[in-house]
Protein backbone atom coordinates (compact mmCIF):
# COMPACT_ATOMS: atom_id res chain seq x y z
CA UNK A 1 0.00 0.00 0.00
CA UNK A 2 1.74 3.16 -1.14
CA UNK A 3 1.52 6.48 0.65
CA UNK A 4 -0.17 7.98 -2.39
CA UNK A 5 -3.14 5.72 -1.67
CA UNK A 6 -4.11 7.78 1.36
CA UNK A 7 -4.39 10.83 -0.87
CA UNK A 8 -6.54 8.97 -3.34
CA UNK A 9 -8.77 7.52 -0.67
CA UNK A 10 -9.28 11.01 0.74
CA UNK A 11 -10.08 12.24 -2.78
CA UNK A 12 -12.62 9.45 -3.21
CA UNK A 13 -14.19 10.18 0.17
CA UNK A 14 -14.44 13.89 -0.50
CA UNK A 15 -16.07 13.29 -3.88
CA UNK A 16 -18.44 10.78 -2.32
CA UNK A 17 -19.46 13.28 0.34
CA UNK A 18 -19.94 15.75 -2.49
CA UNK A 19 -22.37 13.36 -4.15
CA UNK A 20 -24.28 12.80 -0.94
CA UNK A 21 -24.47 16.40 0.29
CA UNK A 22 -25.33 18.98 -2.32
CA UNK A 23 -27.03 22.30 -1.91
CA UNK A 24 -29.04 23.34 -4.87
CA UNK A 25 -27.90 22.15 -8.26
CA UNK A 26 -28.11 18.63 -9.61
CA UNK A 27 -25.11 19.11 -11.86
CA UNK A 28 -22.79 19.34 -8.87
CA UNK A 29 -23.81 15.77 -8.04
CA UNK A 30 -22.85 14.64 -11.51
CA UNK A 31 -19.55 16.49 -11.26
CA UNK A 32 -18.71 14.77 -7.99
CA UNK A 33 -19.59 11.44 -9.58
CA UNK A 34 -16.97 12.23 -12.22
CA UNK A 35 -14.54 13.04 -9.42
CA UNK A 36 -15.15 9.62 -7.91
CA UNK A 37 -14.53 8.00 -11.26
CA UNK A 38 -11.28 9.91 -11.64
CA UNK A 39 -9.96 8.81 -8.27
CA UNK A 40 -10.91 5.21 -9.01
CA UNK A 41 -9.17 5.38 -12.38
CA UNK A 42 -5.94 6.60 -10.84
CA UNK A 43 -6.20 3.93 -8.13
CA UNK A 44 -6.44 1.14 -10.70
CA UNK A 45 -3.61 2.55 -12.80
CA UNK A 46 -1.36 2.80 -9.77
CA UNK A 47 -2.22 -0.80 -8.91
CA UNK A 48 -1.16 -1.94 -12.36
CA UNK A 49 2.11 -0.02 -12.43
CA UNK A 50 3.06 -0.76 -8.84
CA UNK A 51 2.59 -4.52 -8.99
CA UNK A 52 3.53 -4.84 -12.67
CA UNK A 53 0.34 -6.76 -13.57
CA UNK A 54 0.22 -5.48 -17.11
CA UNK A 55 -2.25 -8.18 -18.12
CA UNK A 56 -5.15 -6.16 -16.72
CA UNK A 57 -3.99 -2.91 -18.29
CA UNK A 58 -7.31 -2.71 -20.15
CA UNK A 59 -9.23 -2.40 -16.88
CA UNK A 60 -8.92 1.39 -16.43
CA UNK A 61 -10.09 1.87 -20.00
CA UNK A 62 -13.17 -0.28 -19.44
CA UNK A 63 -13.88 1.69 -16.26
CA UNK A 64 -13.66 4.89 -18.28
CA UNK A 65 -15.99 3.52 -20.97
CA UNK A 66 -18.71 2.57 -18.53
CA UNK A 67 -18.33 5.80 -16.60
CA UNK A 68 -18.65 7.80 -19.79
CA UNK A 69 -21.88 5.98 -20.61
CA UNK A 70 -23.15 6.69 -17.13
CA UNK A 71 -22.22 10.35 -17.34
CA UNK A 72 -24.08 10.55 -20.64
CA UNK A 73 -27.20 9.07 -19.12
CA UNK A 74 -26.91 11.41 -16.17
CA UNK A 75 -26.64 14.43 -18.40
CA UNK A 76 -29.59 13.26 -20.49
CA UNK A 77 -31.70 13.03 -17.34
CA UNK A 78 -30.47 16.47 -16.30
CA UNK A 79 -31.56 17.89 -19.65
CA UNK A 80 -34.97 16.26 -19.30
CA UNK A 81 -35.43 17.75 -15.84
CA UNK A 82 -34.40 21.15 -17.12
CA UNK A 83 -36.99 20.81 -19.88
CA UNK A 84 -39.83 20.30 -17.44
CA UNK A 85 -38.74 22.48 -14.53
CA UNK A 86 -36.58 25.13 -16.16
CA UNK A 87 -33.66 24.71 -13.81
CA UNK A 88 -31.88 21.86 -12.09
CA UNK A 89 -32.61 22.70 -8.47
CA UNK A 90 -33.00 19.58 -6.41
CA UNK A 91 -35.76 21.03 -4.29
CA UNK A 92 -37.96 20.88 -7.38
CA UNK A 93 -37.82 17.10 -7.42
CA UNK A 94 -40.69 16.68 -5.00
CA UNK A 95 -43.47 15.38 -7.20
CA UNK A 96 -43.41 11.91 -5.76
CA UNK A 97 -43.52 12.48 -2.04
CA UNK A 98 -46.00 10.67 0.18
Amino acid sequence: MLSININLIIAFTLALIGVLIYRSHLISTLLCLEGIILSLFILITLLITHFHIFSISITPLILLVFSACEAGVGLALLVKISTTHGNDYVQNLNLLQC
Binding site: L16, F51, L96
Partner: protein, 345 residues
Protein backbone atom coordinates in the same frame (compact mmCIF):
# COMPACT_ATOMS: atom_id res chain seq x y z
CA UNK B 1 -40.73 3.17 -28.40
CA UNK B 2 -39.54 1.41 -31.49
CA UNK B 3 -39.35 -2.39 -31.22
CA UNK B 4 -35.63 -2.34 -32.04
CA UNK B 5 -34.93 -0.13 -29.03
CA UNK B 6 -37.11 -2.28 -26.81
CA UNK B 7 -35.33 -5.42 -27.98
CA UNK B 8 -31.91 -3.95 -27.31
CA UNK B 9 -32.90 -2.71 -23.87
CA UNK B 10 -34.51 -6.00 -22.87
CA UNK B 11 -31.50 -7.94 -24.12
CA UNK B 12 -29.18 -5.61 -22.22
CA UNK B 13 -31.16 -6.13 -19.02
CA UNK B 14 -30.97 -9.88 -19.46
CA UNK B 15 -27.28 -9.86 -20.40
CA UNK B 16 -26.37 -7.58 -17.51
CA UNK B 17 -27.87 -9.84 -14.89
CA UNK B 18 -26.48 -12.99 -16.50
CA UNK B 19 -23.03 -11.38 -16.71
CA UNK B 20 -23.07 -10.60 -13.00
CA UNK B 21 -24.43 -13.98 -11.94
CA UNK B 22 -22.00 -16.03 -14.00
CA UNK B 23 -18.90 -13.96 -13.39
CA UNK B 24 -15.83 -14.90 -11.40
CA UNK B 25 -13.91 -11.67 -11.79
CA UNK B 26 -15.07 -8.65 -9.84
CA UNK B 27 -14.82 -6.39 -12.82
CA UNK B 28 -17.30 -8.31 -14.95
CA UNK B 29 -19.71 -8.40 -12.02
CA UNK B 30 -19.47 -4.61 -11.76
CA UNK B 31 -19.94 -4.31 -15.52
CA UNK B 32 -23.11 -6.39 -15.39
CA UNK B 33 -24.58 -4.18 -12.68
CA UNK B 34 -23.74 -1.06 -14.68
CA UNK B 35 -25.39 -2.51 -17.80
CA UNK B 36 -28.49 -3.24 -15.75
CA UNK B 37 -28.65 0.30 -14.43
CA UNK B 38 -28.11 1.87 -17.83
CA UNK B 39 -30.57 -0.41 -19.60
CA UNK B 40 -33.58 0.29 -17.45
CA UNK B 41 -33.42 4.07 -17.51
CA UNK B 42 -34.57 4.59 -21.13
CA UNK B 43 -37.58 2.35 -20.55
CA UNK B 44 -39.26 4.97 -18.40
CA UNK B 45 -41.84 7.20 -20.12
CA UNK B 46 -41.50 10.91 -20.63
CA UNK B 47 -43.78 12.47 -18.04
CA UNK B 48 -42.21 14.56 -15.23
CA UNK B 49 -42.83 12.01 -12.47
CA UNK B 50 -41.12 9.28 -14.44
CA UNK B 51 -38.15 11.55 -15.20
CA UNK B 52 -37.80 12.38 -11.55
CA UNK B 53 -38.03 8.70 -10.62
CA UNK B 54 -35.41 7.82 -13.24
CA UNK B 55 -33.08 10.54 -11.91
CA UNK B 56 -33.35 9.34 -8.35
CA UNK B 57 -32.81 5.76 -9.44
CA UNK B 58 -29.81 6.72 -11.53
CA UNK B 59 -28.15 8.75 -8.78
CA UNK B 60 -28.51 6.10 -6.10
CA UNK B 61 -27.47 3.22 -8.32
CA UNK B 62 -24.41 4.98 -9.72
CA UNK B 63 -23.29 6.02 -6.23
CA UNK B 64 -23.62 2.39 -5.17
CA UNK B 65 -21.65 1.28 -8.25
CA UNK B 66 -18.84 3.69 -7.43
CA UNK B 67 -18.65 2.55 -3.79
CA UNK B 68 -18.63 -1.02 -5.02
CA UNK B 69 -15.77 -0.26 -7.42
CA UNK B 70 -13.85 1.32 -4.58
CA UNK B 71 -14.33 -1.83 -2.51
CA UNK B 72 -13.11 -3.95 -5.43
CA UNK B 73 -10.00 -1.83 -6.00
CA UNK B 74 -9.20 -1.67 -2.29
CA UNK B 75 -9.47 -5.43 -2.13
CA UNK B 76 -7.19 -5.70 -5.19
CA UNK B 77 -4.63 -3.48 -3.50
CA UNK B 78 -4.53 -5.43 -0.27
CA UNK B 79 -5.01 -9.01 -1.50
CA UNK B 80 -3.85 -8.68 -5.11
CA UNK B 81 -6.62 -10.78 -6.61
CA UNK B 82 -9.96 -10.20 -8.29
CA UNK B 83 -11.84 -13.42 -7.52
CA UNK B 84 -15.49 -12.88 -6.76
CA UNK B 85 -15.73 -15.39 -3.97
CA UNK B 86 -12.74 -14.09 -2.03
CA UNK B 87 -13.35 -10.61 -0.78
CA UNK B 88 -11.01 -11.15 2.13
CA UNK B 89 -10.23 -7.60 3.15
CA UNK B 90 -12.43 -6.44 6.02
CA UNK B 91 -12.96 -2.86 4.93
CA UNK B 92 -13.60 -3.96 1.37
CA UNK B 93 -16.34 -6.36 2.45
CA UNK B 94 -17.97 -3.70 4.61
CA UNK B 95 -17.95 -1.22 1.72
CA UNK B 96 -19.26 -3.90 -0.65
CA UNK B 97 -22.08 -4.76 1.77
CA UNK B 98 -23.12 -1.13 2.00
CA UNK B 99 -22.94 -0.71 -1.77
CA UNK B 100 -25.12 -3.79 -2.33
CA UNK B 101 -27.51 -2.55 0.36
CA UNK B 102 -27.95 0.69 -1.59
CA UNK B 103 -28.53 -1.29 -4.78
CA UNK B 104 -31.11 -3.56 -3.16
CA UNK B 105 -32.93 -0.84 -1.30
CA UNK B 106 -32.26 -1.91 2.27
CA UNK B 107 -32.81 0.48 5.13
CA UNK B 108 -31.23 2.95 5.91
CA UNK B 109 -30.65 3.32 2.17
CA UNK B 110 -34.26 2.67 1.25
CA UNK B 111 -35.45 6.20 0.53
CA UNK B 112 -35.33 5.84 -3.22
CA UNK B 113 -37.48 2.69 -3.48
CA UNK B 114 -40.99 4.10 -2.82
CA UNK B 115 -40.47 7.23 -4.87
CA UNK B 116 -38.92 5.46 -7.83
CA UNK B 117 -41.53 2.69 -7.82
CA UNK B 118 -44.28 5.31 -7.65
CA UNK B 119 -43.07 7.31 -10.63
CA UNK B 120 -42.74 4.56 -13.20
CA UNK B 121 -45.45 2.41 -14.84
CA UNK B 122 -46.54 -0.85 -13.27
CA UNK B 123 -44.61 -3.16 -15.57
CA UNK B 124 -41.35 -1.20 -15.31
CA UNK B 125 -41.79 -1.17 -11.54
CA UNK B 126 -42.23 -4.90 -11.69
CA UNK B 127 -38.89 -5.31 -13.46
CA UNK B 128 -37.32 -2.94 -10.97
CA UNK B 129 -38.51 -4.81 -7.92
CA UNK B 130 -37.94 -8.34 -9.19
CA UNK B 131 -35.31 -8.64 -11.91
CA UNK B 132 -32.98 -5.97 -10.58
CA UNK B 133 -32.72 -7.76 -7.28
CA UNK B 134 -31.26 -10.90 -8.81
CA UNK B 135 -27.74 -9.67 -9.58
CA UNK B 136 -26.88 -8.02 -6.23
CA UNK B 137 -28.33 -11.00 -4.34
CA UNK B 138 -26.18 -13.33 -6.43
CA UNK B 139 -23.10 -11.35 -5.42
CA UNK B 140 -24.14 -11.43 -1.75
CA UNK B 141 -24.69 -15.17 -2.01
CA UNK B 142 -21.16 -15.65 -3.28
CA UNK B 143 -19.36 -13.40 -0.79
CA UNK B 144 -21.44 -14.66 2.13
CA UNK B 145 -18.57 -16.12 4.23
CA UNK B 146 -16.76 -12.79 4.34
CA UNK B 147 -19.65 -10.61 5.44
CA UNK B 148 -19.89 -8.88 8.80
CA UNK B 149 -22.82 -10.28 10.77
CA UNK B 150 -23.35 -7.13 12.85
CA UNK B 151 -23.89 -5.00 9.77
CA UNK B 152 -26.19 -7.62 8.25
CA UNK B 153 -28.34 -7.78 11.38
CA UNK B 154 -28.53 -3.99 11.53
CA UNK B 155 -29.55 -3.75 7.87
CA UNK B 156 -32.07 -6.55 8.15
CA UNK B 157 -33.87 -5.44 11.30
CA UNK B 158 -33.99 -1.83 10.15
CA UNK B 159 -35.35 -2.94 6.78
CA UNK B 160 -38.14 -5.06 8.17
CA UNK B 161 -39.17 -2.35 10.62
CA UNK B 162 -38.99 0.44 8.05
CA UNK B 163 -40.76 -1.68 5.44
CA UNK B 164 -43.51 -2.47 7.93
CA UNK B 165 -44.04 0.99 9.39
CA UNK B 166 -43.48 2.86 6.16
CA UNK B 167 -46.21 1.01 4.30
CA UNK B 168 -48.87 1.67 6.91
CA UNK B 169 -49.76 5.17 5.76
CA UNK B 170 -49.78 4.60 2.01
CA UNK B 171 -52.65 4.54 -0.41
CA UNK B 172 -50.75 4.16 -3.65
CA UNK B 173 -50.30 0.51 -4.46
CA UNK B 174 -46.87 0.90 -6.02
CA UNK B 175 -45.53 2.48 -2.86
CA UNK B 176 -47.08 -0.31 -0.80
CA UNK B 177 -45.34 -2.88 -2.98
CA UNK B 178 -42.09 -0.90 -2.63
CA UNK B 179 -42.25 -1.01 1.17
CA UNK B 180 -43.11 -4.69 0.92
CA UNK B 181 -39.95 -5.13 -1.15
CA UNK B 182 -37.86 -3.34 1.50
CA UNK B 183 -39.22 -5.62 4.23
CA UNK B 184 -38.69 -8.80 2.25
CA UNK B 185 -35.12 -7.82 1.40
CA UNK B 186 -34.56 -7.52 5.14
CA UNK B 187 -35.70 -11.10 5.58
CA UNK B 188 -33.36 -12.22 2.83
CA UNK B 189 -30.34 -10.39 4.19
CA UNK B 190 -30.50 -11.72 7.71
CA UNK B 191 -29.91 -15.33 6.70
CA UNK B 192 -27.29 -14.83 4.02
CA UNK B 193 -24.36 -15.66 6.24
CA UNK B 194 -26.01 -18.52 8.13
CA UNK B 195 -27.61 -20.39 5.26
CA UNK B 196 -27.29 -18.62 1.90
CA UNK B 197 -29.63 -21.07 0.17
CA UNK B 198 -32.53 -19.63 2.12
CA UNK B 199 -31.72 -16.21 0.68
CA UNK B 200 -32.15 -17.56 -2.84
CA UNK B 201 -35.30 -19.45 -1.83
CA UNK B 202 -36.79 -16.39 -0.21
CA UNK B 203 -35.91 -14.27 -3.22
CA UNK B 204 -37.53 -16.77 -5.60
CA UNK B 205 -40.79 -16.94 -3.67
CA UNK B 206 -40.84 -13.18 -3.23
CA UNK B 207 -40.32 -12.70 -6.97
CA UNK B 208 -43.18 -15.09 -7.81
CA UNK B 209 -45.60 -13.37 -5.47
CA UNK B 210 -44.60 -9.87 -6.56
CA UNK B 211 -44.88 -10.87 -10.21
CA UNK B 212 -48.41 -12.08 -9.55
CA UNK B 213 -49.32 -8.84 -7.79
CA UNK B 214 -47.94 -6.57 -10.48
CA UNK B 215 -49.40 -8.54 -13.36
CA UNK B 216 -52.80 -8.68 -11.71
CA UNK B 217 -52.77 -4.97 -10.98
CA UNK B 218 -51.65 -4.32 -14.52
CA UNK B 219 -54.68 -6.17 -15.92
CA UNK B 220 -57.09 -3.51 -14.76
CA UNK B 221 -54.49 -0.78 -14.33
CA UNK B 222 -55.23 -0.10 -10.66
CA UNK B 223 -52.71 1.97 -8.81
CA UNK B 224 -54.60 3.20 -5.76
CA UNK B 225 -56.65 1.57 -3.04
CA UNK B 226 -59.68 3.48 -4.29
CA UNK B 227 -59.40 1.76 -7.66
CA UNK B 228 -59.04 -1.57 -5.88
CA UNK B 229 -62.42 -0.94 -4.32
CA UNK B 230 -64.15 -1.11 -7.65
CA UNK B 231 -62.36 -4.21 -8.84
CA UNK B 232 -65.04 -6.65 -7.73
CA UNK B 233 -67.23 -5.38 -10.49
CA UNK B 234 -64.72 -5.60 -13.28
CA UNK B 235 -63.45 -9.08 -12.57
CA UNK B 236 -64.10 -10.84 -9.29
CA UNK B 237 -61.46 -13.48 -9.84
CA UNK B 238 -58.82 -10.76 -9.81
CA UNK B 239 -59.80 -9.94 -6.25
CA UNK B 240 -59.42 -13.58 -5.25
CA UNK B 241 -55.99 -13.71 -6.81
CA UNK B 242 -55.02 -10.53 -4.97
CA UNK B 243 -56.28 -12.05 -1.73
CA UNK B 244 -54.26 -15.23 -2.09
CA UNK B 245 -51.10 -13.47 -3.21
CA UNK B 246 -51.17 -10.83 -0.50
CA UNK B 247 -51.74 -13.40 2.21
CA UNK B 248 -48.83 -15.37 0.80
CA UNK B 249 -46.62 -12.27 0.83
CA UNK B 250 -47.62 -11.67 4.41
CA UNK B 251 -46.43 -15.15 5.32
CA UNK B 252 -49.56 -16.91 6.44
CA UNK B 253 -49.26 -20.65 6.97
CA UNK B 254 -50.95 -22.73 4.41
CA UNK B 255 -49.55 -20.57 1.59
CA UNK B 256 -46.10 -20.62 0.05
CA UNK B 257 -45.00 -17.32 1.58
CA UNK B 258 -44.85 -19.01 4.94
CA UNK B 259 -42.03 -21.28 3.81
CA UNK B 260 -39.12 -18.80 3.68
CA UNK B 261 -40.13 -17.10 6.90
CA UNK B 262 -40.45 -20.42 8.70
CA UNK B 263 -37.10 -21.73 7.50
CA UNK B 264 -35.35 -18.42 8.21
CA UNK B 265 -36.74 -18.27 11.75
CA UNK B 266 -35.69 -21.87 12.31
CA UNK B 267 -32.13 -21.18 11.16
CA UNK B 268 -31.92 -18.06 13.29
CA UNK B 269 -33.09 -19.89 16.40
CA UNK B 270 -30.66 -22.73 15.72
CA UNK B 271 -27.90 -20.12 15.86
CA UNK B 272 -29.10 -18.59 19.15
CA UNK B 273 -30.32 -15.36 17.56
CA UNK B 274 -33.61 -15.55 19.40
CA UNK B 275 -34.03 -11.81 19.92
CA UNK B 276 -33.43 -11.19 16.22
CA UNK B 277 -35.90 -13.87 15.25
CA UNK B 278 -38.55 -12.41 17.56
CA UNK B 279 -38.07 -8.91 16.18
CA UNK B 280 -38.29 -10.11 12.58
CA UNK B 281 -41.42 -12.13 13.25
CA UNK B 282 -43.11 -9.25 15.01
CA UNK B 283 -42.26 -6.76 12.29
CA UNK B 284 -43.76 -9.09 9.69
CA UNK B 285 -47.09 -8.39 11.36
CA UNK B 286 -46.86 -4.76 10.30
CA UNK B 287 -46.62 -5.90 6.71
CA UNK B 288 -49.57 -8.18 7.19
CA UNK B 289 -51.66 -5.29 8.45
CA UNK B 290 -51.50 -3.26 5.28
CA UNK B 291 -51.91 -6.35 3.13
CA UNK B 292 -55.09 -7.09 5.07
CA UNK B 293 -56.23 -3.55 4.45
CA UNK B 294 -55.83 -4.11 0.71
CA UNK B 295 -57.74 -7.38 0.96
CA UNK B 296 -60.53 -5.68 2.88
CA UNK B 297 -60.71 -2.98 0.24
CA UNK B 298 -60.81 -5.33 -2.72
CA UNK B 299 -62.63 -8.51 -1.81
CA UNK B 300 -63.86 -8.78 1.76
CA UNK B 301 -65.89 -5.59 2.02
CA UNK B 302 -67.71 -3.19 -0.30
CA UNK B 303 -65.33 -0.28 -0.40
CA UNK B 304 -67.02 3.07 0.24
CA UNK B 305 -67.36 5.30 -2.79
CA UNK B 306 -69.31 8.44 -3.56
CA UNK B 307 -72.40 8.50 -5.72
CA UNK B 308 -70.81 9.93 -8.79
CA UNK B 309 -67.56 7.99 -8.81
CA UNK B 310 -66.82 6.07 -11.97
CA UNK B 311 -67.01 2.31 -11.71
CA UNK B 312 -64.99 -0.08 -13.77
CA UNK B 313 -67.27 -2.25 -15.83
CA UNK B 314 -66.74 -5.82 -16.82
CA UNK B 315 -65.93 -6.47 -20.43
CA UNK B 316 -64.43 -9.18 -22.56
CA UNK B 317 -60.84 -9.53 -21.53
CA UNK B 318 -58.50 -8.68 -24.35
CA UNK B 319 -55.22 -8.77 -22.49
CA UNK B 320 -53.03 -11.80 -22.29
CA UNK B 321 -53.26 -13.22 -18.79
CA UNK B 322 -51.09 -16.21 -19.48
CA UNK B 323 -48.60 -15.83 -16.69
CA UNK B 324 -50.98 -15.00 -13.85
CA UNK B 325 -52.47 -18.46 -13.11
CA UNK B 326 -48.99 -20.03 -13.11
CA UNK B 327 -47.49 -17.52 -10.74
CA UNK B 328 -50.59 -17.56 -8.52
CA UNK B 329 -50.37 -21.31 -8.11
CA UNK B 330 -46.66 -21.09 -7.42
CA UNK B 331 -47.10 -18.34 -4.86
CA UNK B 332 -49.93 -20.00 -2.94
CA UNK B 333 -49.78 -23.74 -3.16
CA UNK B 334 -46.16 -24.76 -2.85
CA UNK B 335 -45.87 -25.13 0.91
CA UNK B 336 -46.04 -28.97 0.96
CA UNK B 337 -42.90 -29.01 -1.18
CA UNK B 338 -40.80 -27.56 1.65
CA UNK B 339 -38.68 -30.70 2.14
CA UNK B 340 -37.73 -30.51 -1.53
CA UNK B 341 -36.59 -26.92 -1.17
CA UNK B 342 -34.60 -27.65 1.97
CA UNK B 343 -32.63 -30.38 0.28
CA UNK B 344 -31.77 -28.14 -2.65
CA UNK B 345 -28.90 -26.60 -0.67
Amino acid sequence: MSPYVTTILTLSLFIGTCLTIFSEHWFTAWMGLEINTLAIIPTTPKNPRATEAATKYFLTQSTASMVMMFAIIYNAWSTNQWTLMQLSDNWASIAMTLALAIKLGLAPFHFWVPEVTQGIPLLTGMILLTWQKLAPTAILFQIAPHLNMKILIMLAILSTLVGGWGGLNQTHLRKILAYSSIAHMGWMIIIVQINPTLTILSLTIYIMATLTMFLTLNLSNVTKIKSLGGLWNKSATTTIIILLTLLSLGGLPPLTGFMPKWLILQELINNNNIMTATLMALSALLNLFFYMRLIYASSLTMFPSTNNSKMQWYDNPTQITMLIPTTTVISSLLLPLTPLFITLS
